[in-house]
């Protein structure tokens, strides 16, 4: 039996009543005898893999599809080792697979986070499942033909004998299901034999999406679920002072009004984000009308009532001048000494990053039925395991009686890592005593989010007489990510904001990174690009400033910094970063600067084992910025699905452009000022690059997730191109308002 002892998971084989072969990982459950139970009844096994009698191969997708392509890509790994005919593969979304084990909670299907699973371990695990099914089918054919299994091969859904005889997987499934799984892990294919991995595959459920048949969380219905909307306290940490719900209750269609408590002061945000009043109604429109009729007085938390963006900025600037409270993130060599040696040959600049909202086009929603001993949830989630824990805490129902169905989700960018809306839905359903579908309106979404942190970067570089960078100081005052965030509990205040290894760390002899925590009452969270993007805008803009101040070519400066190709540290090969930079520069025709008023800019970043470089060609005419070309070169190791990689890189580039051009959450009198898209403008088609090119290097290196890395290099490359076109250096995001102010 193939047993993954670190995760107490084993590969199990079973048969369905209809004669299908089932293969799935199963966590050793409490009631399983050790190393027993490889065979069990079909209903217990919702599998990775089902080979049906008609030859259809059904593969389970374990992560929630949020647009990152896991629903297509991960099944490709299984189908590859199975040698399935991709045209006969059907992908079905798996539910969240919680299981109790003798060593605590287990995950039946492995990591079901929506992050992308681009890890070598996930690859190996999924491929093994496909390999086992293939092995069983081959054994079955060998029995039928009385041949040595070693003489048989498989291709596109058939087992084929040396003499050319063929048996379809469907014909073999029933017998294969009676065989025992192989005792040891099977060898996996040599990459040279790949038939699916590396081939462009379209989104498996595209047809349902374009027909409008795909169920998103907001489209789900459970029984006769009522619709709930919540009026939430607009002040961070605030509370309900007075409520008059008489008019709301009188409206036809309104079924109830329920007061919801806010988060406990100073405790982690593990439930609802704000105090609220829920209106439960027959339909969304009635719920919204009811909410409009509520008369509520909210009481601000005095700690945050006076906060404004101006006060945040002033406090950040003050913190940057006060070393006493700074945490040293990294300290290589001696920056102070380098400063002295530079004799005034020092360059300094400050860059400001606003708070950002995720603004997923599908706002948070959760459909839930809660009874005494069972919970059913349908919601687009990035962290279903977290949702399961939240639901257990609120309902008291055991986790193995909490069923979570994962529909497609309308975007993520990190928003769905949090399960605050799941907690709210459970509280409302309990109060109402009925299943509910909680929907968030856009205003709710922009006003109540785990925002990308605000911060100001102070950068300084020292140069020698040959214009080489001898010292690099990067000091940040920002609203910490780990504030009241259990995921980052115990981690330093800069976690998720500063990465001690980020470029150019390791490439400059005297380098210091300092962090000062800036208190703010708004919740903060993960956002596209994470720490990498937060840091890279400043670092890559500043490199450009150094290049221009010292009359060096920004490309040459970066290449010189990277130096000879080498492994600087695990996960950072300077040659691979130089490689993508060279491609991006070549494709944008860097050596031939446009003379028509267009400007070229580039930037690069390495992180999570991936490498990205962006190059932009832009022009600014009056109030309009035109992005004529956007080029991104990436090296993310072995490419699973080039079509999806292209999509991820292009999409992430555009999302990063959107985030840097116009988006900002601002505070006034303790309240978020943005309510809907007019004051939180997302990128539209006409503002997006006229041409978007993605150039990817497919290598034998381990596959890596590209999103954060690509998000990191996009915004600074854009700002650098804007400088080239206008000679205006934008040091404060969002870019457009600041550019127009400076022009």
């Amino acid at each position: 039996m193939i047993f993954d002892s670190s995760r107490r998971r084993f590969l199990a084989v079973g048969a369905s009543a209809a004669g299908a072969l089932l293969v799935g990982w199963r966590v050793q459950a409490q009631d399983d005898l050790p190393y027993l139970g490889a065979r069990f009844q079909a209903p217990q096994l919702t599998d990775f893999l089902r080979v049906e009698a008609d030859g259809t191969v059904v593969i389970g997708a374990r992560g929630c599809e949020v647009g990152q392509g896991v629903k297509t890509d991960l099944p490709m790994l299984i189908a590859e080792e199975l040698d399935a005919d991709w045209n006969r593969v059907r992908v079905e979304q798996l539910p969240y697979g919680y299981v109790d084990t003798d060593s605590g909670p287990g995950d039946r299907y492995g990591d079901q986070g929506a992050g992308g699973d681009a890890t070598p371990a996930a690859w190996a695990q999924l491929r093994q499942a496909g390999a086992v099914a293939r092995w069983l089918l081959v054994q079955s054919a060998a029995q039928q033909w009385s041949l040595d299994p070693a003489t048989l091969r498989t291709e596109a859904g058939f087992v084929i004998a040396a003499d050319g005889r063929k048996l379809g997987f469907g014909e073999l499934a029933a017998n294969a299901a009676t065989l025992d799984a192989p005792p040891n892990p099977l060898p996996l294919k040599d990459p040279a034999q790949f038939r699916l991995i590396g081939k462009p595959m379209r989104t498996v459920d595209a047809r349902e999406v374009v027909l409008g048949r795909t169920e998103y969380g907001i489209d789900s219905y459970l029984g006769n679920a009522l619709v709930a909307v919540i009026a939430r306290c607009p002040y961070p940490g605030g509370a309900l002072a007075a409520l008059d719900d008489a008019q709301a209750r009188q409206l036809s269609g309104v079924r109830g009004v329920h007061v919801l408590p806010g988060p406990k002061p100073d405790a982690p945000f593990d439930g609802a984000l704000a105090a609220g009043v829920a209106v439960v109604a027959d339909d969304t429109w009635s719920a919204l009308r009811g909410r409009d009729k509520l008369k509520i007085t909210w009481k601000p938390d005095p700690a945050w009532a006076g906060d404004s963006s101006a006060s945040l900025e002033a406090r950040a600037q003050a913190l940057l001048g006060d070393d006493a409270h700074a945490i040293v993130v990294r300290n290589d060599g001696d920056f102070a000494k380098a400063q002295k040696a530079a004799r005034g040959n020092t360059i300094q600049a400050r860059y400001q990053m606003p708070l950002l909202a995720h603004a997923t086009l599908e706002p948070p929603s959760a459909t839930i039925a809660v009874s005494r001993d069972k919970v059913e949830l349908i919601a687009g989630l990035h962290d279903p395991a977290g949702a399961s824990r939240v639901l257990q805490a609120i309902t008291g129902v055991a986790r193995d009686a909490i069923d979570i169905r994962l529909p497609r989700a309308g975007g993520d960018l990190g928003r769905r890592l949090h399960n605050d809306f799941v907690a709210e839905a459970a509280l409302v359903a309990k109060a109402a005593g009925k299943p509910v579908k909680l929907v968030w309106m856009r205003e709710d979404d922009l006003q109540h989010d785990f925002y990308r942190p605000f911060g100001i970067h102070d950068l300084a570089a020292t140069l020698d007489h040959r214009k080489q960078i001898t010292g690099w100081s990067h000091r940040v005052a920002a609203t910490p990510r780990n504030w009241r965030d259990e995921r980052l509990a115990g981690q330093p205040a800069f976690a998720g904001i500063l990465d001690a290894d980020a470029f150019p760390a390791g490439l400059v002899a005297n380098l210091q990174q300092w962090f000062s925590a800036l208190p703010c009452g708004l919740p903060r969270g993960e956002f596209l690009g994470g720490a990498q993007a937060f840091q890279a805008f400043a670092a890559q803009s500043f490199l450009d400033e150094i290049a221009h101040a010292t009359r060096q070519d920004p490309l040459v400066l970066r290449m010189n910094l990277l130096g000879a190709p080498r492994m600087l540290r695990p996960g950072f090969d300077t040659g691979r970063l130089a490689g993508v930079l060279r491609i991006a520069a070549g494709k944008i025709d860097w050596q031939h600067k446009p003379t028509n008023g267009h400007g070229l800019g580039l930037a690069c970043h390495a992180g999570d084992g991936a490498y990205a470089a962006h190059a932009f060609e832009v022009s600014v005419d009056g109030n309009d910025l035109t992005i004529h070309r956007a080029v991104c070169a990436v090296d993310a190791g072995r490419t699973l699905n080039p079509l999806n990689l292209q999509a991820q890189v292009a999409n992430t580039t555009l999302a990063a452009i959107s985030a840097s051009l116009h988006e900002a959450i601002t505070l006034k009198a303790g309240q978020v000022q943005q309510h809907n898209f007019p004051d939180y403008p997302l990128l539209r088609m006409r503002q997006s690059p006229r041409a978007m090119e993605v150039h990817s290097i497919d290598s034998a290196a381990d596959a890596a997730s590209v999103d954060d890395c690509v998000a990191a290099s996009a915004a600074p490359a854009l700002a650098n191109a804007v400088f080239a076109a206008t000679t205006v250096r934008v040091r404060k995001l969002p870019l457009m308002p600041e550019l127009l102010r400076l022009l």
């Binding site: 379209r202 374009v210 907001i218 339909d283 999302a655 997302l682």
Partner: protein, 178 residues
Amino acid sequence: MPDNPFRRTKPEPVPPVAASAREKTVPLRINGKAFFHNGDPDMPLLWYLRDVLRLTGSKYGCGIGECGACTVLVDGKAQHACLLPVKSMAQREIVTIEGLAGDAALHPLQEAWIAEDAIGCGYCQTGQIMAAAALLKRKPRPDDADIDAIPNLCRCGTYPRIRAAIARAATAPVEGKR
């Protein structure tokens, strides 16, 4: 999905009701079928489609006509269902994404969207397709500026593929009556 008492596959006589209630009943024609709405006449078409008819292909994204996720065709023109009170829709021909292909399996735009893999999270794509359908009705051979004038939001950033899909559908040989 429970039975939906409001759904009708063909026009049916309005049952006898009090005069005041009958005045409130709004006859609707959606995807070639007749429906009668006797709830709040101010309910936006979007919530009628989604909550009452459970035609959930039209999406909610902003509620104020900014994002286009709820785009439907009203008498052939792209409109934001979130802004249209049901009472204003009497005698209008409404087509949603569910009815766009008509008797065909897929509309040429839907085929083009699949061919270009213009999906991302997919949430905005039904609205994008409806906006593109209105454009192609108005201008079967749109230029780049016409396509770029589609104001629908895509948070994922699939605009390059949306452009390619519209261009593909616009240059594809016209089939049937569409």
